[in-house]
Symmetry: C2
Subunit: 334 residues, 2 copies
């Protein structure tokens, strides 16, 4: 079953208005969920929507709250998300960082007391649409053991970096620091399939591709073992220091669920130093070279970060967004 | 054999002066090589020094050149490294980014036409000594296949992030995007030992810990497979766009050796938003929580990024810096 983008957008908007969001915020949030689904990231689009609504119902997300700037110094600002919706908070922070970058070359917004931003890559695409390079990251619940440990005390703290192209086919990496998300591990377990690469440790302490074994230990693997583990610690520090908000440990210990997160958005306007055609030339040159690699498999295709999102978007615009009927039905009934 | 820091510093300085560097630059470069050795990163300190001198002798590094600011807009600057020594160029860029951050909260310096910065972590420690958070990265020769490919067309593009502590025991991650460096793979091969985790592919296309097999295919593994591969592409783009300098592909195809690199230094002054005691409190809180993890091995110790550097530094200050006698002798004879 496929649903046209505009229909999905309207439906999300209707539910969010009913839950008490103002018109502008309801539209922006709905557009984020619909565009995320359009790009094929269903886990953080349509499939996540009911859970977000339940967070509003439980009072964990405040549908009437607005993010506010608390401190400003030069090109850096600290904002309080006031526990409003995470995706609209992050979109506001991205916008503001880009505004600062347009004025001064660079802008940094640190956001505390916010909620899950859904698809982090959305803010990469958003900044790139404004012609900006962006580096942004969020902390999370403790959901991964530090390298060499059993219990989960670091976050998978997704890191997003985006590079704009005038064609709109931006290069966007959206990269959690765990090799696989919990959702992906569960998906493989339910299908009875092995993960494509090692994703965690089994009960004997050996790395494994067996999703069921990983669910027993919950020792999921950071990318690059000690490297992703270290990156996670440092990104959490930067986010908590600049935002003045919760660290991964605070979220796990003081709050106990994934609420009250800390995020950082660094935007850079490359047109302060190069023309748009120079930027396009550099990106194309790098992509041509990389995509000219010899594939391991005869029919292998080398993809760059963001390429498959763009392809899925085009397909879903044409054919509609594929949905799981039960989920779509539940949204219609909200 | 162990050599006191001051003796090593003087010896490096003597050689660099003889090679034509001015007094200030010779001292700064010598201090970088000696401090890198002091921190235990011998591969980019004393053991690398003879190769750097050979680059000066071959005219690849210009001992008389100076980095110069070419463009400036708001808080972002583009510098030309003029093929001077890479470590002093990067130190200058770090200093300038921190200066801009002290004035405006954030500062970005993009540096083109520079040389290998030696130990990237050095610039993390340097910025943190000035009280700044820093995110910096460099591109390299094409030395790693993109995910799914056989031939090497992306760089291992080291990424450094540092967080300052008033004690000087900063948190610094210095993280190439390959799981292991070529030097480490060769070291394991010579010792006839297996790598501690998968480091590349064997002749059958399977991931392996066998360093000898990896040296046959040169298919080294990016951290997190497709994730490190994508990060590498995007960091190269950001470095080449902002600096206006060479991409990884340019370095491999136009130059053919690791010369004329592009680097980016983003410095943030966190004291614009928080007091030093608040910053220390946040860092300590995160480290206490993470280090309180339950180790996998009974006698396991959980280390944070930068912790072992600091320990080695203290030991080497006390006992002197361990050197390979032949290398030390060759430097004495320069």
């Amino acid at each position: 079953m496929r649903i046209p983008y505009e229909v999905m957008l309207k439906e999300f908007e209707r539910v969010l208005l009913k839950k008490g969001l103002d018109e502008k915020t309801a539209y922006e949030a709905a557009a984020n969920f619909a565009q995320t689904s359009l790009d094929g990231v269903y886990s953080h689009g349509i499939n996540r929507f009911p859970r977000v609504i339940s967070y509003i119902d439980r009072g964990v997300i405040d549908p009437k709250a607005k993010p506010l700037c608390e401190m400003q110094c030069g090109v850096i600002e600290r904002w309080n998300g006031n526990l409003a919706l995470g995706n609209t908070n992050a979109a506001k922070a991205t916008d503001r960082a880009c505004e600062l970058a347009k004025e001064n070359g660079v802008g940094v917004v640190a956001l505390r007391n916010t909620n899950h931003w859904m698809r982090g890559g959305a803010f990469g695409w958003q900044a790139a649409d404004k012609g900006c390079i962006v580096i942004c990251f969020t902390n999370t619940m403790p959901n991964m053991p530090v390298y060499g440990a059993k219990d989960r005390r670091i976050g998978n703290n997704p890191l997003i970096i985006a590079v704009p192209r005038s064609s709109g086919e931006h290069v966007v990496i959206d990269c959690a620091l765990s090799q696989f998300s919990y959702g992906k591990i569960e998906e493989y377990k339910l299908k009875g399939k092995n993960l494509p690469v090692y994703g965690g440790y089994d009960s004997n302490g050996e790395v494994t591709t067996d999703a069921g074994e990983i669910e027993k230990t919950w020792r999921v693997l950071p990318i690059g073992f000690w490297k992703g583990s270290g990156l996670s610690i440092v990104l959490d520090m930067v986010a908590a220091i600049l935002s003045g908000g919760n660290s991964v440990g605070d979220i796990g210990q003081k709050i106990g669920e994934e609420v009250g997160l800390s995020q950082v958005f660094v935007a850079i306007d490359p047109t302060k130093l190069s023309s748009i055609s120079e930027i396009d030339y550099t990106v194309d040159k790098i992509l041509d070279y990389v995509k000219g690699s010899e594939p391991v498999k005869e029919d292998g295709v080398i993809l760059y970060p963001g390429e498959s999102s763009f392809k899925t978007r085009k397909e879903n615009i044409e054919k509609g967004i594929p949905v799981i009927e039960e989920i779509w039905q539940s949204i219609l009934e909200m």
